[in-house]
């Protein structure tokens, strides 16, 4: 009888421990977690010089993708941006940007990025990958800065990062009015992902 009670107590403790361990595991990121990009809480902005006077900012409102950030394992980042979602707070300008003068959205509706190598760099990551805009693919390298990670409750376990890179739009065939608009375009990316 006494042995039975001791076994029951031990079993209960083991079960509680197992649940506690499982719960802990469920609330922290493990090495190979994959996160799906949350388009509502992610920002993809671009900055370009206008007439040599001032920088101008625009954004893309629709993007999807996924990422894995692992300091010891295989990291990856894949993103697809809906070019038709370009938003510069001017409907006429948005139409012009979607036209063959700039993004040629009717022929190339998306811009994509696919990482080829991600290596840890102190608290950050050095990302190399293929950026495709207007059907032209070029390799790019940038620093990815992790900005936070944790369980947000109802909105799930999340991870975020931001990055900044400068590209030459002429390299991607976006060649209209090189005198009025700068060749260099800065992409400012802040992404929040939800663990799958």
């Amino acid at each position: 009888m006494r042995m039975t009670r001791m076994f029951a107590v031990a079993s209960s403790l083991a079960l509680v421990g197992a649940i506690a361990a499982f719960s802990t595991g469920a609330s922290t990121s493990t090495a190979a977690d994959t996160f799906t990009v949350d388009p509502v809480h992610s920002s993809i902005l671009f900055k370009i010089n206008h007439m040599g006077i001032a920088p101008f900012y625009g954004r893309f409102n629709k993007a999807e993708g996924s990422f894995v950030l692992d300091a010891e394992g295989a990291s990856s980042l894949d993103m697809t941006i809906d070019v038709d979602s370009v938003d510069t707070h001017s409907d006429d300008r948005d139409k012009h940007l979607k036209s063959p003068d700039f993004f040629n959205a009717a022929q190339f509706p998306v811009a994509t990025f696919k990482s080829t190598e991600i290596t840890p760099d102190a608290d950050n990551y050095m990302v190399t990958g293929d950026l495709t805009i207007r059907g032209t693919t070029k390799p790019v390298t940038f620093t990815l800065v992790p900005t936070g990670e944790g369980d947000t409750g109802r909105m799930g376990y999340r991870s975020g990062f931001e990055a900044e890179l400068v590209i030459d739009r002429l390299d991607y065939g976006v060649a209209f009015l090189p005198d009025a608009l700068g060749a260099d375009v800065t992409l400012l990316i802040a992404v929040e992902g939800v663990r799958k």
Binding site: M51, S90, D91, D92, R93, K95, H96, K98, S99, P100, D101, N104, A105, A106, Q107, F108, R134, G135, T136, L170, G173, A175, F176, L177, D179, A180
Partner: protein, 299 residues
């Protein structure tokens, strides 16, 4: 000087200026007994100016790029080849052979420009229907211009210049300024040739009309297939295409050359105005503060 003006000087005036300089050197219109250069040679000069303009406007994108704007470079080529066949092969001067050549040139242009539509947009029966419809329209544009320009010189040049200007206007209003710019060499080259032709007997336009028809049809297909779907400019593009048939209609009038020219210019102006009316001047949901200008305030 606004950026559009700078861009036009570089992409339109520079290559067309070189082509015109060569034309004038061959023609020497300041001489009383100056003989106009061969029409096919004139067509080749215009084709070269159009090709150089395309590369300057859109940048070099490879020999046969996926991006359709990289293929604007070749628009004049089917027209020039057809013109050369008509020039050197006697049987090709027969009307039905010229019609076949026009269909072939139009088909090449449609096929070259519709590659992404065939891959991602058109499914099933849409590919043959669109290809046949656009090819038929292209053949009508090319043969319409060719028939309307047969045996014409200065007056025809001016009509070609204005026709290209109507295409430019429609393309610009459809938010595709770069394709609008691609009509520039035709307007500048044919306009100058028309003015010079008022002083000295100019070259015949039979061969030139093939090149102009091919380039304008290529720009029409480009705008029709790849302009922003928000603009819905297809009615305007159709009216622009109709301008290419105006010289053939003028031929049917059998009036005096000056009367015919005036009539053609009036109809072209009317078609340009009608095309303007079919395009919204600004986005329906644009606010009063939305003062975006495609020409970056050149005016």
């Amino acid at each position: 000087m606004g950026p559009i003006v700078t861009e036009s000087l570089r992409a339109v005036v520079a290559p067309t200026g070189v082509a015109l300089a060569l034309l004038i050197a061959l023609w020497r219109p300041w001489r009383r007994n100056a003989a106009p250069p061969d029409g096919l040679l004139v067509a080749a000069l215009l084709a070269a100016a159009c090709a150089a303009n395309a590369v300057i406007t859109h940048g070099w994108k490879g020999v046969w790029p996926t991006d359709f704007t990289g293929r604007v470079l070749y628009f004049a080529l089917p027209g020039l080849v057809a013109a050369a066949v008509v020039r050197f092969v006697p049987i090709a001067r027969r009307p039905w052979v010229r019609s076949v050549l026009a269909v072939a040139a139009a088909f090449v242009i449609v096929w070259a420009l519709s590659h992404s539509r065939r891959a991602y947009g058109w499914e099933g029966w849409r590919t043959p229907v669109w290809t046949v419809a656009l090819t038929a329209l292209g053949a009508a544009i090319i043969t319409g211009l060719e028939a309307g320009m047969a045996g014409r010189r200065a007056g025809g040049s001016l009509v070609l210049a204005v026709t290209a200007a109507v295409f430019a206007l429609v393309l610009f209003d459809a938010h595709i300024a770069s394709l609008s710019e691609n009509t520039g060499p035709i307007s500048m080259f044919c306009g100058t040739m028309g003015v010079l032709g008022l002083i000295r007997r100019g070259p015949v336009l039979d061969s030139v009309s093939w090149v102009v028809g091919a380039v304008l049809f290529g720009l029409f297909v480009s705008g029709y297939l790849y302009s922003s779907k928000d603009d819905n400019p297809r009615a305007a593009f159709t009216l622009a295409a109709a301008t290419a048939l105006v010289p053939a209609l003028g031929l049917a009038l059998r009036s005096r050359p000056a009367t015919r020219l005036m009539g053609e210019l009036v109809v072209l102006a009317a078609l340009a105005g009608a095309a303007q009316l079919t395009l919204p001047t600004s986005a329906p949901d644009a606010s009063p503060a939305d003062e975006y200008e495609m020409d970056y305030g050149t005016d």
